[in-house]
Structures are given as structure tokens and as C-alpha cells.
């Protein structure tokens, strides 16, 4: 089918409009991050002079570099644990019959719609009492409780797509349930595992509420929370430009991740497994 010229133009114009709408704030941040000193008041979109000054400020401050280390560390740990647990849980949910199976999925969905802020205060008190306040573990635990349900949901959908015969064939071929899972099911669910991993990583990386309520020092404070503590060159100047620079820095890993794994997220690996 060939679309007529006018409809084609319509779609292209629409696409450009939406892309601009999404990208202008990003360009604005990038542009801000290159404005040195008082240049942010220049009333122009682009900086008068392109300068790396803000980036130097950002990397020179301990506040940012330790926060970056915290963010990277906690995101990786939380993502790994979350994906491993979610893979096992989702497999059980999609393949085994056990009482309360629907309840588990229902609760998982309910947790994802639960407002984060609602548990932040209770956790703050609880963590202070048991000594988890201002530690990595103290943040990783609530991260897991929010990312696991979503991962389980995504992965159980992927597992359901894999034909039962795959495992049965493996069992007949001499595999134990674990071997069938590891050698057949996990490779086939790889796109789902990557999707779940990326979603979890984003959620943890971008977290602000837990980061600001459950930390008090640089010991565990992640980047989004640390940005709020930035100070300007003097007490009276707003640190807008350095914050913009820091925001650009933390966006880069996310963009790289998406570019790296977008091929992996493409479903359809199960092509050719069965008749067709």
C-alpha cells in the first residue's frame, strides 16, 4: 500500500513536531550547561561563549563524584538482584500451578501503582531504628520492592510466549528441570530479561524520593538527590548551570545503554522454534 503524498507529509510533520517537543528541553539543558558564569542570563537559547567551566566545577566537587559512584553501584546491584529474582519468580508464575498464583500477580501489579512517597516516611523511621539509614542497602531494598513487581510482570509475559514443548523436549532429551530452564528457557527469554533489566536500571537511576529521604550524607546519596545540594559559586548565585551540566552527565549512561541494548530488546527470537 502506498500512502498518498499529503498523508505522508502529514505524518512527517507530526513526527517532527513531537520530536521537537521532546527534545527542546533536552537541548535547553545542554545549552545551559555550556553557559559560563553569568551567561545564563543572556536571554538567548545558545550560550554566547561555549565553555566547559560547569563540567569542570561538577567533576571538581566531591558531592557529585561520590554521588555518581553511589548511583552507579546501587543501580547495578539492584538491577542484577531484581532481574535474577524476577526471572525465577516469573518462571514459576507462568509455568507452575500453585494456589494463590493470581493473587501474587495481582499484588505485584498493586505495588507498582502504590505511591512511592507513602512508604518513604515510615521507612525513614524504620531504617533509623535498625541502622539501615544512609546506607547502600537501605536504598537497594526499597528499590527492589518497587522494581521487582514490574520485572516479574514483564518477564512472565515473555515466559508465557515460549511454547511448553520447548521444555518438554528438553526433559525428554535428558535435561533436569534446572537444565531445561537454564539452557533453553533463559536464552529464549533473553529479550525479556534485557527489557526488565533496562526498565529496572532506569527506575533506580532516576529515583529521587528515596534518595533524598533515606540519606543524610555522601555515604549513599545518589545523583538525583545530590543535585539538590549543589551550591553556586557564591552564596547568592543560583547553581543552575552546574546542575544542568550534572544532569547532562547522568543522562549519558542511560542513552548509551539504550543504544547498546535496543537490538537485544527486539522480540521474535523464538522464530523457528515451532511449525511455521
Amino acid at each position: 500500500m502506498k500512502a498518498s503524498r499529503s498523508t505522508q507529509l502529514f505524518w512527517i510533520a507530526g513526527a517532527i513536531l513531537i520530536i521537537l517537543y521532546a527534545l527542546i528541553p533536552v537541548f535547553w539543558i545542554v545549552s545551559l550547561s555550556f553557559k559560563a558564569g553569568d551567561d545564563i542570563t543572556n536571554k538567548q537559547f545558545l550560550p554566547t561563549v561555549w565553555s566547559w567551566e560547569n563540567y569542570k566545577t561538577v567533576f571538581a566537587s566531591d558531592l557529585f563524584t561520590t554521588a555518581l559512584r553511589n548511583s552507579v553501584g546501587m543501580s547495578i546491584i539492584a538491577t542484577t538482584i531484581s532481574v535474577i529474582l524476577a526471572t525465577l519468580a516469573a518462571y514459576a508464575i507462568s509455568r507452575l500451578e500453585f494456589p494463590g498464583k493470581r493473587l501474587v500477580l495481582g499484588v505485584a501489579l498493586a505495588i507498582t501503582v502504590f505511591p512511592v512517597i507513602a512508604i518513604a516516611t515510615p521507612l525513614f523511621n524504620l531504617w533509623r531504628t535498625i541502622g539501615l539509614y544512609d546506607t547502600w542497602l537501605g536504598l537497594i531494598i526499597p528499590y527492589l520492592s518497587y522494581s521487582l513487581p514490574l520485572s516479574v510482570y514483564v518477564l512472565s509475559a515473555f515466559f508465557r510466549e515460549i511454547p511448553w514443548e520447548m521444555e518438554q523436549a528438553a526433559q525428554v532429551d535428558g535435561a533436569t528441570a534446572w537444565q531445561a530452564f537454564r539452557r533453553v528457557i533463559v536464552p529464549l527469554a533473553a529479550p525479556g530479561v534485557f527489557t526488565a533489566a533496562i526498565l529496572t536500571f532506569f527506575a533506580v537511576w532516576n529515583d529521587f524520593v528515596f534518595g533524598i529521604t533515606l540519606t543524610s550524607s555522601e555515604a549513599a546519596r545518589p545523583v538525583p538527590a545530590a543535585l539538590a545540594f549543589f551550591q553556586g559559586a557564591s552564596q547568592f548565585s543560583q547553581p543552575t548551570a552546574p546542575i544542568a551540566a550534572a544532569a547532562v552527565v547522568v543522562t549519558i549512561p542511560v542513552v548509551i545503554l539504550v543504544l547498546l541494548f535496543q537490538r537485544k530488546i527486539v522480540a521474535g527470537l523464538t522464530n523457528g522454534a515451532v511449525k511455521g
Binding site: P163, A169, A170, Q171, V172, D173, P187, L188, L269, K275
Partner: protein, 411 residues
């Protein structure tokens, strides 16, 4: 290689539905056994109970003399070809075939290579070993699934309708291929199908199932010539056996179109005036004009109007409509429904010489080989004229053939 014995196997589901009911079946070492029946007859369930993917509610399953009811599939040392092949899409053809070997301990890489290339050679897959299943044609995938089954030494091969996803031409080729492979390896094989051509051509013996009950286990020839009941008679053979109402009058039998003497084998079991169902195969008829005079003596001649003829080059079918009585018509409609078909009208389908120039909507003269006619009890469906002596003869022939083949393999 092992014999498989089933003793009073029952499969009952949670809702009380019995998919397999008291099936006892002995499959000899090296035998090719077919499980056949219309959909929902329990044949696939039975196969899955042999391989261990389905629990056995009661009864004993013995493979090579060992009871395997509680054994996991991987401990039964069987291999299975699934209806949809169930290839591992993330592995190459080589790795797919090698998969069962990789799961076994203590096999060297060289040994794996040797065995895979041997299996691939047998199935002519050598040039595809590095490809992924997604890039193969249906027939090639089918062969990979078979390669995975034959790559290790197993007690038995199990096939679950392996050819039903292939087109007709390929199906014919693969059928021969499976037969050749089984003869060459001499491995006990259980093969589930609903296609009766496969059942007739592949099997040493065929087990016909109906609603979870075993109807008859016999060689294809015996099933065709000496069926135990109307269900087996109607299921085996294509076009199917013709069923007609037959009324006993004295020592004569009144059928549509013709009247014959009551067969001696049925004489003691029927009373005067009783309604029976007569079964005659399409190939037990002939156009009287083209008949071998020697045969003429043996049967009966009758005249009938031809409704439709189908000329196929090598053979020809003629359709002769007749009026049936309502009781028989209902019986036949029920049977047809059970056989996954539909009884549209009561008619004789007869196979006549392709040379015959019978014209549609004209009367013709036909010959029927009434000696080979079967009579069924309309209530129970039991065959009243089954010749046990002939059946035993056919069974012993089949036994001899299997013994012959085993002898050949042993050499």
C-alpha cells in the same frame, strides 16, 4: 531397544474425565506400533504417558521390563519427535542435534561430533549444520527433530503426529524416510497419527483407540480385512467401508440393490427378521461389464443408477444412492460424527475399473464380492462375521516378518 508393556493404563483428569481407559498393550522389541483414532481418542495422551510428560492415574507402564510410572522423562531414555518439532531456536542445527548428548556426562567432543554427523548424514542435513532452525524449511526442521531423536541410543522412539504440519508431497517422502530409518535402526517405535495412510503404511501393528478405549490391535491387513467392530471397519480404509441395512429373511439377507445368502458364520447369531448392518469395502465391487469372468461366479450381480462418477486416472469411483431405514441411518450418522466426518446421504461408494465408461444418471450393472462382506450388530457394532482363523493367520504372518527383520539386524 526395549519392549514396552502397558497394563490397564488409566488417565483420569481432575474433573473425572477419563482420557485413557484401561488400555493394555504390548509393544515388542523393535516393533513399529501405530496409535490411531479420531481426535480426542486419547492417543496422544497415551504417548505422553509412555514418555512421562503425563502422569499415569493407574496401571503399570513397563519399559524393558522396568516399571517406569514414577520415573522422570529423562530417566526413561526415550526420544520424542513433537508435532511442532520443538527445536531450540537459539541453537544451530548441530547444537540442536547434539543437545541430548551434551546433557550426558562423559562424552568427548570428538564423540559428539562423530555421532551428530552420523545422524545428520542419515537425514541429509550435513550442509545445514551451521544454520538456525528459523532459516530452515518445514521438511528440514522435521528432519532436525528426527536427528535429535536418533542421535543417542534410546529404548524407543516416540512420534506425536510428526508429519501433520507438512504439505502432502513432503509428507509422503518423510513417511518413507521414517520407515526406512526405523527399519535400519531396529528401534522400538510408537507413532501417533490420525492419518490412516500413515497408519497403514508405517506400522507393523496398529492400535485403534476410541474415546480412551482400545478397540483392536492388529496388523494393518488384519484391521482392513477382519475388523472387530463397525468403528474399526469404518475408520480404516479410504474411501470408507460402505454400511447398508440388511434384513434377515430365513436363510437370505436382504440388502439395498441385492439379496444374498446369509453367511454361515453369522447364521447361529441372528434371528429371522432381524436388522443388521452390512459392511462392504468400495473395492469389493466392480463394473459387471469389465469383470474377470472367473470372479463372476463368486459374487452377486445387481443393477443400480449411478449418481456421480469420479475418474482419477488410475482408479474410478461411482456413487450409488439408496434409501436407508431410519434406524440404520441414525446409527451411521453417529458413527460418522465420531469419525470426524459427516454422513450427508446414504450411498454406496464403489471403486470400479478406470476403463469403465459408466455414465452419470444412468443405470449400470455391478458385481459385488459378497463373500468378503461383513455383518455388524446394529446395537453393539460387533462384527458377526469376523473370521478368527484368518485373523490368526494374518497375525502370525506379521510376527514372522518382525522376526525376520530382527534376524537381519542381528547379522
Amino acid at each position: 531397544m526395549s519392549a514396552i508393556e502397558m497394563r490397564n493404563i488409566v488417565k483420569e483428569y481432575g474433573d473425572g474425565f477419563k482420557a485413557v481407559n484401561d488400555v493394555s498393550l504390548d509393544i515388542a522389541d523393535g516393533e513399529f506400533m501405530i496409535l490411531v483414532g479420531p481426535s480426542g481418542c486419547g492417543k496422544s495422551t497415551l504417548l505422553r504417558m509412555i514418555v512421562g510428560l503425563e502422569d499415569i492415574t493407574s496401571g503399570d507402564m513397563l519399559i524393558g521390563g522396568d516399571r517406569v510410572n514414577e520415573k522422570a522423562p529423562r530417566d526413561r531414555n526415550l526420544s520424542m519427535v513433537f508435532q511442532n518439532y520443538a527445536l531450540y531456536p537459539h541453537l544451530t542445527v548441530f547444537e540442536n542435534i547434539a543437545f541430548p548428548l551434551r546433557l550426558m556426562k562423559g562424552i568427548s567432543e570428538d564423540e559428539i561430533k562423530r555421532r551428530v554427523s552420523e545422524a545428520a548424514g542419515m537425514l541429509e542435513l550435513n550442509e545445514h549444520l551451521d544454520r538456525k532452525p528459523a532459516n530452515l524449511s518445514g521438511g528440514q526442521r522435521q528432519r532436525v527433530a528426527m536427528g535429535r531423536a536418533i542421535v543417542r541410543q534410546v529404548n524407543a522412539f516416540l512420534f506425536d503426529e510428526p508429519l501433520s504440519n507438512l504439505d502432502a508431497k513432503l509428507r509422503g517422502q518423510m513417511r518413507t524416510e521414517i520407515s526406512r530409518m526405523q527399519r535400519r535402526l531396529g528401534t522400538t517405535t510408537v507413532y501417533v497419527t490420525h492419518d490412516q495412510t500413515e497408519a497403514m503404511t508405517l506400522g507393523d501393528r496398529v492400535a485403534v483407540l476410541r474415546r480412551g478405549y482400545l478397540q483392536q490391535v492388529a496388523s494393518p491387513r488384519e484391521l482392513y480385512e477382519q475388523p472387530v467392530n463397525m468403528f474399526v471397519a469404518g475408520f480404516i480404509g479410504s474411501p470408507p467401508m460402505n454400511f447398508m441395512p440388511a434384513v434377515v429373511t430365513g436363510d437370505r439377507l436382504k440388502l439395498p440393490f441385492l439379496e444374498v445368502g446369509l453367511p454361515s458364520s453369522a447364521a447361529g447369531q441372528v434371528s429371522d427378521g432381524q436388522l443388521l448392518i452390512a459392511g462392504m469395502r468400495p473395492d469389493h465391487f466392480e463394473d459387471a461389464r469389465l469383470l474377470d469372468p472367473v470372479k463372476r461366479e463368486r459374487g452377486a450381480i445387481f443393477r443400480a443408477r449411478v449418481d456421480v462418477t469420479e475418474w482419477l486416472g488410475d482408479s474410478q469411483y461411482a456413487y450409488l444412492p439408496f434409501e436407508s431405514n431410519p434406524e440404520v441411518a441414525k446409527q451411521l450418522a453417529d458413527l460418522a460424527a465420531e469419525l470426524d466426518s459427516e454422513a450427508l446421504r446414504t450411498q454406496l461408494i464403489i471403486s470400479i475399473d478406470a476403463m469403465s465408461r459408466l455414465r452419470e444418471n444412468h443405470e449400470g450393472e455391478f458385481w459385488a464380492d459378497t463373500d468378503r462382506m461383513h455383518l455388524f450388530d446394529p446395537k453393539t457394532g460387533i462384527n458377526l462375521t469376523r473370521d478368527e482363523a484368518a485373523a490368526a493367520d494374518l497375525a502370525s504372518l506379521e510376527q514372522e516378518e518382525l522376526a525376520d527383520r530382527r534376524g537381519e539386524l542381528a547379522k
